[in-house]
Symmetry: D3
Subunit: 313 residues, 6 copies
């Protein structure tokens, strides 16, 4: 099976030439300023199990819209991992998120607005409509940065971390694929995190992602451009405000990344593009013969060991 | 190639057992009442070509949202065909809609809100967000009839016909696939049409469509239900307010349908389900060895001949 | 999407016409007698986590061959679920099996011999070779019941339950797909179980499975027969000793099954074939629009509730 | 989606190293000399519509064989676009060719002999048989230049232009894919054209087309060579007489090309190969994210504007 | 894998309701009368091997066109099997036809005109052109029985048998797929054959073939009809003169058929349609789990045994 | 169709950088020493045909396990070709191996242990089990060289040649794909062969094969490594004892190779890797437009001619 991106010999050296727009920071500080205010956080115990306590979480995200989540806590937890979900999935059931609780930490799972009907059910609407968009979420509002779908999602995520800090003194963020991309955004926008764990992260180095990936969802953008001939400049201008490479360059917390060298959804060069830009201490776990499944449970084992060093349970 | 639905010997006899909810008419009269008011119609000439006059059209659809369209008129036209677009397409360019103008009639092309990025570009946003939905439009707001995507689209279509009547005394409606489904909705909601021409119509007899079709977009609903286990009753309850079979049963204008007996997107039984329920004079053009392309240009020839009899140019 | 098996209206009535060979019970009592003897059970703690205790398990299965497993136990557990794995998977890591421990019960995960390289790693060899066999496990030794691969696997499973009873007074069995098929075998061979939970079980009603399924692994048998023209009688004779329908007819413990009505790997009629033959109290959880993923986490929720009634934590 | 040919940064620089055989011009002057003589042109009005006049056209092409076409003319047209059809299609119905008439020009659509059963019906037989050939038209007579299918087609096309000049003083040629390739052949063989508009042209730089394209029909040649091992030299010798690169080098009329940078049927380098060889004034319309659909209606808009400058309606 | 046609329980009872046109026999006697005359047979030894003598064969087929073949003879052969080739293949090399020679009989392999570029090379042109036809051979000349491709092929085959009788006193015919269909045609047109061996024969019960097969080449006809809407009656009228069912009903020599019950190219019901119509002594070899590969070498073994009884070497 | 490996211009220059382990020869001399002893050869005539004599062959291979084969001999043969079978196939029927007998030589066909259920039936069990392995044979025992499947197969092959020498004074070896790989192993392990004919050989330059091939079975190894993350070094260490490149470097007999430049199963660079390492006189037959079918019957013709020079019949 040919490597679908750069050869394993050289891919680790890849540096993205994506450039952040000059007003990148201003855009995000403005966006987050607009989202500040009462979190409206509610944490409602739904089940006091024999081992873990499970709570239904609600808070106000972008635009004051209600965002849902799960909080699953082992007895005596003093730290929390905020977990973001992969593309098209929702928070589903709490019992699907037991790994971090089994290590002695709480987990706060953020539901991704509007998604949650592709492979795992969600409970959070996205009340905002859009210009004509390709099926999926990648091109919703893509012609203007203010309207872009991920502006809302990344803001929701920053607010989730804000909520986490109200519950526990130490907070890490983690997620795979889109969840990894959201983790990176948060890492670049929020100070004081204990750790960042992006697995096979999506939403990094968009031009390369769109022109190297052979499976969705980067390709939603390519198909949109095939219909909207001439929109290329506007589209990539918008995306430049949402690129994990630029968030990585603003990160301050230690990170453990992972990458599949045969990843056809999130090409390894895009992952290294973010990794090599990452501005804080970092490690990469690399899986040579893996596609987008990356390290799977092997990576969880590695995260457990690594996190013990930077954010003990 | 096996026939993907009932055998050609018997499919024409198929009658849908879909039942309209008791308050079907109340729901729609309420919906349309809410959409009444100033059309805000503007018809802006964009090009005075050597043969046709092309205008950019705008009017207020559901919720007062702006809907776009094209009006292409030959010299001296005294009637108009309102044309609805297939799933995921937009109004694209005016020069792609020359058939009806070449027959001496104007054509008013309605842009479908939110779509127009799948294969043909559109210009009309859908400013309404939704609960978690499967990629595509079929499940947006599907848990409540008030929120369902097609409530907005069908209302836009009724308003498009209203606009057409302000421009020409005689109005026909036409469209293929989703455009055919919209035509049927209009046929059941608007009196006084001269003709209705649904080709391989979509959005008819949903249960059968979802469980017989082998290609999208009916299957978006099946995939949604695979994720939202338990939502089946709510989903089909909502859909019962949008079923072409029930609109057909309320139609008053003469109709020419077409059907592909090998249609894997809009199975022929669903088309006959609407056809056999159609309450006004009707004809069916049947294409035995065709999939969803149906009669293609053969059907246009047939429509031209048939329309000459019911709405002369 | 057409239902790939009998219509949802009638599939629940399906009764298999598979007939057990006369010496079915003799074959299995002989097989199990040959496997009796010292279990050689070892339970080696590998990690004393903050929440669960994890142990590496080893015991002697068929032929005295070493079989591996995981035991994950919450504090104070007094019952255990023995879990069997799906086709081609291995026990992988302990932290992938936290659901039952989170309900307050121990889980004992049996590694499937020889598998564990298809999607999850395993640690148990199958030291027995075979006649020419199709790639995969379904046709290894299929020409003689004594040599058939599942004779060894089912015996390993009976021994796993035996091991479980040495550790806890109450034992349930569970598993999805192949794991469900193994659960049924155990249910028919071992008395005294508290509960049986086969999800979308495989290895039931082989003739129907082979001639209705459209995805592997039942089709390995069809492809074998396409090469070994003339082996049909011998093959189905062997399989008649391994059919979940016959094990179900000998079961004595209460059971909760699940089925996907669109299952293309384990067709729903084969599941109902076993279910309707099941000789003890039983319930069926049915997922109309699901393929082989069945109920997924919804079914886990349902199992948790149901098991609380028959084997409290 | 990876670019299937050279990177967009460099593809525009590509120059074909295909070399015309020394007797290329002699071959074609001989061929055309043999085809001269009475055109036998008939133009039979079939419909005098409210807007356009449609005529059935017939003339003598290669070997004196009858070739069919449509002539669609707006009132007062003084120029004509001769349109050639894509691979496997026929002239179909006249109402499918309204674009050029809507700009005030006549269009003469040439039916491609023998084709017209793949996606659009045709009416022109190819009465000439062939040596064993792969399914399709690409290898019919490919072992000898005199027998090759496109010798007949290109000659038919030259004769179509000859017919066009008998009807209107100014003539342009256009076509997509195979139609673009035929346009180029005509551009190299016929003097006095007003304009040439090849879209995503086929039949250019055969070696590169055969070894870069991933979709038919260039691959018919590769499959032929896989069967006829050893025929490579003879095959490419024949093709060297039919290569758009060589016709381009002999062109005299201004041209507007288009290219899809993701074209998997007619790879962009082959298009640039012809473009960069084109000997007269030229422009290229480039669509970065498009496959073989190229610019679609966007390109028609551009052609309308461009043609207004070189052949006003 | 579901059986792609009727269930194995009932398929053997299938009787075709295809009806021969009244002038079927007249059409064929006229056709063959037109082909009579000097065979122009040449048998040129090309290699006198250590075991077999191989000759290049040439004779005049339909229209007096030259048809090629191989004759491979063991020492002392006194009978010959005339072998016809599957769709799109040619006679290829003599050493690919050693099975019958190894049984002590000569084999005369007829090259199929025009084919021989799909998977095995051929050497016989088809000098006759056609109306617009779908890629492939199934629709060449299909609108008129006089022009249909198989009129020429079946005539070539009758002439091949005529040639065989000039070389050996006893002649059998055999072939798989298209070769089986040709065998049946010959069986119905030529008296005095010793044996007929059609394997998984093609060209039988066309309506059923076209509407049951899921793989080419029957589907070429369906695709042609999808383009040429309205040609259905003419097409099936032509095919009624070429249906193996009708040739079978006129056969006089003993036959051994074979059938794959999972055949998706030549559905088993079409094979039984011909078999049950076969008018002379017959046997069927049936392969339940095989697709179009049928019995493969198993069937050759069976043919060897059977032929020993009806045409000893 | 793009060339799936290096360009045809440079691929012939490819030299593998695979390095044999230091104890490669020791490993194999030890292995073969362990396999020495009574061959237990039996040659049982099963059919004395009119042309060839066919015998069922049995001998003791690796571990003393019985291996089956066919011997097909023309009258008076004084040399033999030992033929090895492609992946997943078995010896099938004797009449499928008539090519070499038709040239006046005997052929001894070795059945491949355990295989023979993928496309051609076999009769030789592999009585040795394995660690968890991916479906197929490529990863059976792959973690330790002593356990690896091909250690047994190559030893069986050496023993087959030993058997051949007891029957005839001159012995050649041949085979396609896996059969070609086995031929190379034998060429490196057995002195005194007259000729070696590996067609599109498999099992050469494993790293490159695994990372260039796009179709199985090299990819079984990639999929195994995707599950067994971390096993890469151990796996390629084992494979280094079984690499055709290293056997080629030890060969002493003249060889005729063949290669398909579009081979997606055994990439041409891997074939040239072995070829360029081959230490004895050699020729390469190259098929530019062929995938894994390579030269097919063209190559048989070439082998016949070539073998006449080095091992006359």
């Amino acid at each position: 099976m040919p490597f679908p991106d750069l050869s394993p010999d050289v891919v680790a050296e890849y540096r993205s030439d994506a450039r952040a727009p000059e007003d990148f920071d201003a855009f995000w500080s403005g966006t987050l300023a607009g989202a500040r205010g009462d979190l409206g956080l509610t944490v409602t115990p739904v089940e006091d199990g024999p081992v873990f306590q499970v709570s239904d979480v609600s808070y106000r995200g972008f635009g004051g819209h209600e965002v849902k989540g799960w909080l699953i806590a082992p007895p005596g937890a003093s730290s929390v991992v905020v977990k973001f979900i992969g593309y098209n999935g929702g928070r589903s059931f709490a019992h699907e998120h037991l790994f971090w609780p089994s290590t002695g930490r709480a987990v706060l799972v953020m539901d991704t607005r509007g998604q949650g009907s592709g492979w795992a059910p969600g409970a959070t609407p996205d009340p905002v409509g859009s210009d004509p968009a390709h099926a999926g979420f990648m091109t919703r509002g893509i012609l203007r940065r203010e309207d872009y779908f991920y502006r809302r999602v990344f803001t929701d995520a920053v607010r989730a971390v804000e909520a986490a800090f109200t519950l526990y003194p130490r907070v890490a963020v983690a997620g795979g694929s889109q969840g990894g991309g959201i983790s990176l955004a948060v890492a670049g926008l929020v100070p004081g995190l204990s750790a960042v764990m992006p697995d096979v992260p999506y939403l990094c180095d968009f031009w390369r992602g769109v022109t190297v990936a052979t499976r969705d969802p980067y390709l939603e953008i390519a198909r949109y451009l095939a219909v909207h001939r001439g929109a290329e400049e506007a589209v990539f201008r918008t995306l430049s405000y949402f690129d994990g490479v630029h968030f990585a360059a603003r990160a301050t917390a230690p990170a453990l990344f992972s990458v599949g060298i045969m990843d056809t959804i999130c090409p390894p060069s895009t992952v290294y593009g973010a990794y090599n830009a990452y501005a804080a201490p970092k490690q990469m776990a690399r899986y040579t013969f893996n596609d987008h499944e990356g390290g799977g449970p092997f990576q969880e084992m590695r995260q457990k060991d690594w996190l013990a060093g930077v954010m003990p349970a």
